[in-house]
Symmetry: C2
Amino acid sequence: MSHSKNFSIDKLAGAVKEKGNVCIGLDTALEYLPPKAAAAYQSNSEAIYAFNRAIIEKTLDIAACYKVQIAYYEALGLKGMETYAKTLTFLRERGAISIADIKRGDIADTAFRYAQAHFSGDFEADLVTLNPYLGMDSLEPWLNEAKKHKKGAFVLLKTSNPGYKDFQGAILKDGRLFYEDVNEKLALLAEREKGESGFGIFGAVFGVDGNYKPEKSACSAACPAPGLFLLIPGYGAQGAGATQISGLLDKEKGNAVVNASRSILKAWKLKAPDSPDAQDATIESASLCAREAALKMRSEILSA
Amino acid sequence: MSHSKNFSIDKLAGAVKEKGNVCIGLDTALEYLPPKAAAAYQSNSEAIYAFNRAIIEKTLDIAACYKVQIAYYEALGLKGMETYAKTLTFLRERGAISIADIKRGDIADTAFRYAQAHFSGDFEADLVTLNPYLGMDSLEPWLNEAKKHKKGAFVLLKTSNPGYKDFQGAILKDGRLFYEDVNEKLALLAEREKGESGFGIFGAVFGVDGNYKPEKSACSAACPAPGLFLLIPGYGAQGAGATQISGLLDKEKGNAVVNASRSILKAWKLKAPDSPDAQDATIESASLCAREAALKMRSEILSA
């Protein structure tokens, strides 16, 4: 019996210290690929897989991890799910840490089946994202499976869309924000189940938008709690920059990864949208642009 | 351009009037199948598909609809997803109404991709279940796609697990329960977007357990709101009976379907767990037991 406390979250904390805070989001839609290059493949799924592979190869040394957004693959049906599985397998083969952005949330035996689905088999990932709305008991089957497979999760604490205010931002009877309560429950869980890095084996998704000011936090206790390793989406295309994010980062502890998807995947296009270069972009040149964008993002975060 | 307001929810309201309130849950795990019968198939996925087909064939005239819980199929990887797609296709071919129990919830373009995934293509279903935690804006891409494809959804209002109290049952500043606020927002949405049956094209999941007493509702306004067509899980294996559920049903309007999964799928086993009959159960005999269980459930609900 293994007594190792080396969970996915511990590996990720190590990767952040070595490579920085960048998480590359593989929310890969066909229209994010250079069209001429994409057309050379037999199917859309094959083109997307080739693009993912190239991006991964070119960024392995500078990305702490990769977040694969399953919705983009589900949208392509069975072929898309095959591409999703192949992308996760490729990440594993190359020694990269994968986050399956699945935002699943269900109860009892159903939650257990989901955990089986995403911590083992064709769709195995190192970490998943989870929705806590059904209650803390809905996380328990995931915790059991995570402990068995040394995996982990990021639980939604606060998202970066304006509508987060509807429910996550509701005010409770005692004056706390709804998500403060989620934060406290997740902090207790992280205290109960932690890995050798000191972070809870389940961390949190904490989204920020362009208006976020950490010094103006509306919460009474530390939110997000320091025991929670963070996945911060919203960088780049969703409007948050290094300034908004810097207040959440503890550079010494290496407590967070910051995700960018479109600003990296579409870097070839954003760079020079009307130039002949962009028209003639190849998968090779697009992945080099992605590397450049990831490097730029890494140093922006480091120097903020 | 079609001006029809015949959405999936309208078809479902019609099916309830014709066939009663039973929704059969195809949360089909391998261990719910008669083992000897299952062993005759080349793969687990083939056995599960054959079982699903048999159950569907034997209950088409008495079930208002079928709810397919995707977690059980995701757990089997790519083969499982193929079985999931084939089950939905079979339901469509036989003219049955399908609910994809996916509880997805995400924002912006990601929500749009999910809606594409589950309202068209390999995973096309008539209705889906959605998690509203990310905010009302996270439902908009689903609404747009639902209107385009004449589909619908059930949004989680209250679930049947004890942990629903953690978040759905939290008390807000103004004294309302958290899920009352969800109810009000969903009622407004249903008023804004309704079909020819008068129900909103998006209904609600309203779970009850064995202790539920509708006359003791803690809510000030009608909850669930009368404009919301309901998907009520929790019948049978999860502890709720016809008595708990009857207070939620409007028999004249035909406003709800009641889901049972395990008590129907495993009826062959529950009937006589130690008898030689159960040991020798075939897919044919198991599906006949399922029909019996569904008939019994239907009359229990009707007479409550």
